[in-house]
Symmetry: C2
Subunit: 195 residues, 2 copies
């Protein structure tokens, strides 16, 4: 029997991870976010930071140059190796029981394997810029530049492995603007749709 799984894709700074945690807490099911990273790290032998970074670079460098890609996230073989581990871990988690999975193309990986509620969370630049400064502190780059950078990378990574457009409404059951709707309310709507 197929478990009911909630997958949450999100723009950086939109509060998708926070929403995932809130939803899981309310529903009394596990939320895999950092735990997922830890599992991939344990299985692959790479550090969590390396995996985090690799998850936002498309191998082959159609977004960034091959050189800058190689210097940041290793060669494509590493990326493909990580993808396989990620693929297996996400599949196993979904088989284990109902859960919330944040990011890492879980919606695509589970498309034929689990009964998924596929959610995408986004918000406008200003909302996200304020949020990332509050959550992660100031950096040399402006928050807007960091967001544009991350958005591009996530979209490219998603596109590379799934051949689907990240943020295209038709790829999800539900997309929510956390900036206008509010984080708690987003969590409530998702919980309401979970049976």
């Amino acid at each position: 029997m197929k478990n009911r799984v909630i997958t949450i894709s999100c723009e950086f700074g939109s509060g998708g991870r926070t929403i995932g945690k809130k939803v899981a807490e309310k529903l009394g099911i596990p939320c895999y976010d950092n735990e997922l990273l830890q599992k991939i790290a344990a299985e692959s032998g790479f550090s969590e930071n390396y995996i985090k970074d690799a998850g936002e670079y498309a191998p082959g460098g159609f977004l960034v140059s091959a050189f800058s890609h190689a210097s940041r996230s290793g060669n494509p073989n590493n990326a493909d190796y990580l993808w396989k581990i990620q693929y297996n871990i996400i599949t196993e988690l979904a088989e284990k029981g109902p859960c919330v999975i944040v990011g890492r193309c879980a919606d695509y990986i589970l498309r034929d394997k689990a009964d998924c509620l596929r959610v995408f969370i986004h918000a406008d630049m200003q909302f996200r810029a304020e949020r990332i400064v509050k959550e992660y502190g100031e950096r040399e780059q402006s928050p807007e530049q960091r967001l544009r950078d991350k958005d591009k990378r996530r979209a490219a990574y998603h596109r590379f492995y799934t051949d689907m457009k990240w943020g295209r409404a038709q790829n999800y059951d539900l997309t929510l603007n956390s900036g206008t709707i509010g984080i708690d309310r987003c969590a409530d709507i998702i919980c309401g749709l979970y049976e």
Copy 2:
């Protein structure tokens, strides 16, 4: 003072119009869909069918050839003339009071004028194909072909006048898959977000 307006964009056959009507009924506010068409017809002197058709062709013909465009929906001057009338009517309706407006780029037209809840409704091909045959009957073209055709036209029309990508999650507060969520539940979620 700005009125609260719900704008609903939708894929053909996804039930967006039905959802709009249900929402309006529940909230006790008017829903402008066919009424909008009638108003534009009355003001412009064109028939409702002509306007319906023109609302799904991008002038200039970057989707269809200039020739086939001209033969179907008149010259670009007509399209621009209709756009201006549509623009004014939608603006006036939003100034008059809270309401639901289905289609016709109302989300874009009202972007700086009203406090909008911007919704996009979509569903997969099979759900929509069954629905259009049930609602509008069989045609010479297969339902799938009719859907693909309409989708392309709506996206092109939207793109032409708004320079925004139709169906891109980030352009809306909320997008819903009526096929997986159900039409009544979509209406409930929208009502729940309207204050």
